[in-house]
């Protein structure tokens, strides 16, 4: 498969490479000049220098030395015609020194000048003796073809006409091509430039294989404004992908970074964005997100002040959070993650100060008072101010504290404790109602009977 893709890339350049396979019918009639020229390089100096302009180095005047109309007929040749643009490599310099005929001999003929342009078959005879034309597993596109960025003679239309290798049509190719490119990007470079990749890869700047391709203005023009609507990867099609994608991201952050930037993570992951940025940093070229507020993000104190946001966005919350995530804290008997260490020992100040509303999650009677009773804090029926020993005359002074922090009082004291003094039908009958208390408020009259025995004013 991998090799097929490589070969396919070579086939892309087939239009140009086909030149290799054709005897040069329009060129110099080498066979007619057999015996006249002692060396190839006399006319083809470029073979040794590697300079394409000197591939045919002989001048028309040299021909006229014989073709003067008397010694030999005049010929109409004014120098080498402009060659059609191609992306073939000049292979002579650096090639192991072998006889020219090894590649250029016309098959079936003998003699020094029975030559033609080298064919791919001639190359294949040594480099891929068992392969089919342009499909050999051992083939390497860049062995014969220039990178696209160096084949500057090709026009945009020629590039667009490159045939797509069959391997590119495979459904697996989209997910496999990255690894192939990482292994041998030079083959890709025969047909592709960096701009081909940046259409899809938001992280192109951080992918070495892409950056190795180099930019090309022709491809840039061809891809300008192009967008890609990628098919949804199979991995994203599970119902809980929003919840379960974390592991996949950690396993293969580069895969995610192909399409996603850190900013997408920051849409939801504000609390842990530092870590995500770190996990993702090597994979994404996008600027790191501002780890403070991303809309619709989580502000720094979101853990304790998310109520309104949760109301506003319950369906959106559910995109990332299962209901059990809320229950972890709001059920109130598990182990909440937002209380600081040793909270059970030091929560008193928070409870009195009502930093958070404890009763949103905890039953004052069955949770707070239950534990305080077990530990001996809660009032168990005795009178006396032995517990609140810092305040003289606590009995007469406690009213102010009670009205300021009745939640905290009720976490130890039962209603019965208070009724010893505040009942309307027994004890000291001390009125607990503050100024402005609306005795006629009908809606809460159910509790009136606890102190009054009956509902004042009937009802």
């Amino acid at each position: 498969m991998k090799r097929a893709i490589l070969i396919g890339a070579v086939v892309l350049a087939g239009g140009a490479s086909a030149v290799l396979s054709m005897p040069q019918q329009d060129g110099f009639p080498h066979a007619k000049h057999q015996g006249l020229f002692p060396s190839c390089s006399a006319c083809h100096a470029g073979i040794e220098t590697g300079e394409p302009a000197e591939f045919v180095s002989i001048e028309p005047s040299a021909c006229q030395a014989c073709h003067d109309g008397q010694t030999a007929p005049r010929v109409d040749w004014n120098g080498r015609a402009e060659q059609p643009a191609n992306n073939l490599k000049t292979v002579h310099p650096g090639h192991p020194s072998i006889p020219c005929s090894s590649c250029h001999q016309v098959p079936g003929r003998t003699g020094d000048m029975q030559v033609q342009a080298a064919t791919f078959d001639a190359c294949r005879a040594c480099h891929a003796p068992d392969a089919e034309y342009h499909t050999a597993a051992e083939s390497n596109c860049s062995q014969c073809h220039l990178p696209l960025t160096e084949a500057t003679g090709l026009s945009a239309s020629q590039i667009e006409a490159f045939p797509a290798p069959p391997g590119h049509a495979s459904p697996e190719f989209i997910s496999a091509h990255g690894a192939l490119a990482a292994e041998d990007v030079t083959s890709c470079s025969v047909c592709h430039a960096r701009e081909n990749c940046t259409v899809c890869h938001v992280n192109a700047g951080n992918v070495p294989a892409i950056m190795a391709l180099g930019p090309d203005p022709r491809v840039a023009a061809m891809t300008a404004g192009a967008t890609w609507d990628p098919p949804l990867p199979r991995s994203h099609m599970v119902a809980d992908w929003n919840l379960s994608h974390g592991s996949a991201m950690l396993d293969s952050p580069n895969s995610c970074a192909t399409c996603h930037t850190q900013n997408l993570c920051a849409t939801c992951h504000l609390d842990t964005v530092e870590q995500i940025a770190e996990d993702f940093a090597t994979a994404s070229s996008a600027p790191a997100p501002e780890p403070f507020v991303k809309i619709p993000g989580h502000a720094p104190n979101f853990a304790v002040a998310h109520g309104q946001a949760a109301v506003a966005a319950t369906p959106k919350c559910a995109a990332c959070h299962a209901e059990s995530y809320c229950v972890d804290c709001h059920d109130g008997s598990g182990r909440p993650s937002f209380h600081p260490a040793d909270f059970v020992q030091r929560h008193s100040a928070e409870a009195w100060g009502q930093t958070q509303t404890c009763s949103d999650c905890h039953s004052n009677e069955a949770f707070c008072r239950d534990c305080h009773t077990t530990q001996g804090f809660a009032n168990s029926g005795q009178t006396g101010a032995a517990f609140h020993d810092a305040v003289p005359d606590w009995f007469v002074a406690h009213g102010k504290a009670a009205r300021q922090g009745l939640d905290a009082c009720a976490s130890c004291h039962t209603q019965t404790s208070c009724l010893r003094c505040h009942s309307a039908v027994e004890g000291f009958r001390i009125n607990p109602h503050g100024p402005g208390f609306d005795a006629e408020a009908e809606k809460a009259k159910g509790s009136c009977t606890i102190c009054h025995g009956t509902v004042p004013g009937g009802g």
Binding site: Q345, E365, Q382, V396, F437
Partner: protein, 488 residues
């Protein structure tokens, strides 16, 4: 019917649903078992005959400085340290979501058991509870649910047995109606169950019906507003347990998020909570959070507390943050000042504070696999105060494990008691994902010492927990968290 019998009945009904879940198109969930060791020191009331204590009056001192409350001709009493013991709470949690194979029809449940738990831990008599267990059906703009639900709204979290219908078919308008039998706050059990009746002599003798309505305008992230009305009425319809209305607002103005809410008690005609928060980036990595808050506790109408005229406080809060993703550093500092309304109670010669101040500073730093989290908090108020800090240093071990050392030191004083308490300690916390299992645990020791409380003995408190969670179906694998270490 007792709480436990009701829960067992509900669990039995779940078994009827189970076949549907088992044959469902998909199911995912988690079973978690957790055990704790928590040491505590009881507070012990003690006394000696009043005649053996020198001085006069109701408030005297023993020779060692202990303040005692005396009743002439009777005893002088005080609270000192009692016995120290360790208790062992145990939890079992089952969470599951099942898709039935019928498009849009799903089943959700979260059951919690406390089987084998130490009786000294709160709520252990509730051996099995269903926190949620409902069937949901979504089709187009309609969302129907029935069963035991937790519903979040402007009035907070509310659990009940019943049903709800939500519809969002008219542009940004979202409407929902719900009703059923309400449950005790934070209990997942009826109000007339044994959890409350054993805790309070005046606990309700009747269950309650609940119904409510919620209307919202949702323009996405830029603007949201809603209004919610909710009423809980005794099943014999002789009285209410609550009747409230609430609203929420969330809007984006420029770079700032405005986030506010209000809840109003219709019986006592009082605002319980009104808050408005503005969150805004300042540039350069800085951000600002400002909040104004007015709070008065809400008490259900079956209690007498609402009639005791609790007062509200008004508070301003602020927080400044600075973050640098490059450095992996986040710093936060903030505070708040609150002032209580006039109580018209108490006496002139006893000074009880009418305000409170809280301050906070902290930071979080991540460098490679290492992370550090720390903070300092100061809370000064009328009933209790404390100040102290905590620090966690940890390391991620690959993607599936984490280990951390944590410690804290806090000095606290309050409850209108003489003396101070200092708690200092720390421990180790670790978590490890093993395929479909996650094992986590912690162990810590805290030294508790007292100043100016000669009747209290210094002691050492052990804390430890071990938790094993098994995920089934396609339940997501959690990444070991860097937050919340050493909580609880």
């Amino acid at each position: 019917m007792t709480v436990q019998r009701r829960t067992l009945a509900l669990a039995a009904s779940l078994l009827l649903i189970a076949p549907a879940a088992l044959s469902a198109q998909g199911i995912r969930g988690e079973l978690r078992v957790r055990g704790d060791i928590v040491g505590f020191q009881r507070l012990q009331r003690d006394s000696i005959p009043e005649s053996e204590v020198t001085g006069t009056g109701a408030r005297r001192q023993l020779a060692d400085g202990t303040v005692v409350a005396c009743t002439t001709g009777d005893y002088c009493r005080w609270y000192g340290s009692g016995e120290t013991e360790d208790i062992y709470p145990v939890y079992q949690d089952l969470r599951a979501t099942a898709w039935t194979g019928v498009e849009g029809l799903s089943f959700h449940t979260q059951l919690r058991g406390r089987l084998g738990s130490d009786d000294a831990w709160p709520r252990t008599e509730q051996e099995v509870e269903a926190i949620t267990a409902y069937i949901g059906y979504r089709k187009d703009d309609l969302w129907l649910r029935a069963g035991r639900m937790l519903r979040s709204g402007s009035l907070g979290y509310k659990n009940f047995d019943g049903g709800s219908v939500a519809w969002s078919g008219l542009g940004p308008l979202r409407l929902e109606a719900y009703g059923g039998w309400s449950l005790g706050v934070g209990l997942n059990a009826p109000r007339n169950g044994q959890l409350l009746t054993e805790a309070d002599e005046w606990a309700p003798e009747k269950r309650a019906y609940i119904y409510g309505f919620d209307g919202a305008l949702d323009f996405g992230a830029n603007f949201f507003a809603n209004v919610q009305y909710q009423r809980e009425i005794r099943t014999d319809e002789t009285g209410l347990y609550s009747e409230r209305v609430g609203g929420s607002l969330r809007a984006i103005v420029g770079d700032a998020i405005l986030d506010g809410g209000i809840t109003y008690d219709l019986a006592f005609k009082e605002i319980n909570l009104a808050r408005l928060q503005m969150t805004s980036p300042l540039g350069g990595g800085f951000g600002l959070v400002l909040e104004a808050r007015h709070y008065r506790p809400f008490f259900e109408y079956w209690t007498i507390w609402g009639a005791f005229s609790p007062v509200a406080y008004s508070e301003g809060r602020g927080m400044l943050t600075w973050s640098s993703p490059g450095l992996g550093l986040t710093l936060e500092a903030g505070g708040g000042y609150r002032d209580y309304d006039e109580t018209d109670a108490g006496v002139e010669f006893v000074d009880i504070k009418e305000d409170g101040v809280r301050l906070y500073g902290g930071g979080h730093w991540v460098s490679g696999p290492w992370f550090v989290d720390g903070g300092y908090r100061s809370e000064t108020g009328f009933g209790a105060s404390r100040y102290g800090g905590d620090l966690t240093i940890g390391r991620q071990l690959g993607n599936d494990a984490r280990i951390a050392l944590f410690g804290s030191s806090t000095k606290s004083f309050g409850e209108f008691r003489v003396g101070e308490q200092l708690g200092t300690g720390g421990g180790i916390d670790a978590s490890w994902n093993l395929g479909d299992f996650t094992v986590s645990g912690s162990a810590a020791m805290y030294r508790i010492t007292f100043d100016n409380r000669s009747q209290n003995e210094d002691w050492t408190q052990p804390r430890a927990h071990l938790s094993v969670a098994w995920r089934f179906g396609s339940a997501p694998k959690p990444r070991p968290s860097m937050r919340g270490i050493g909580g609880y």
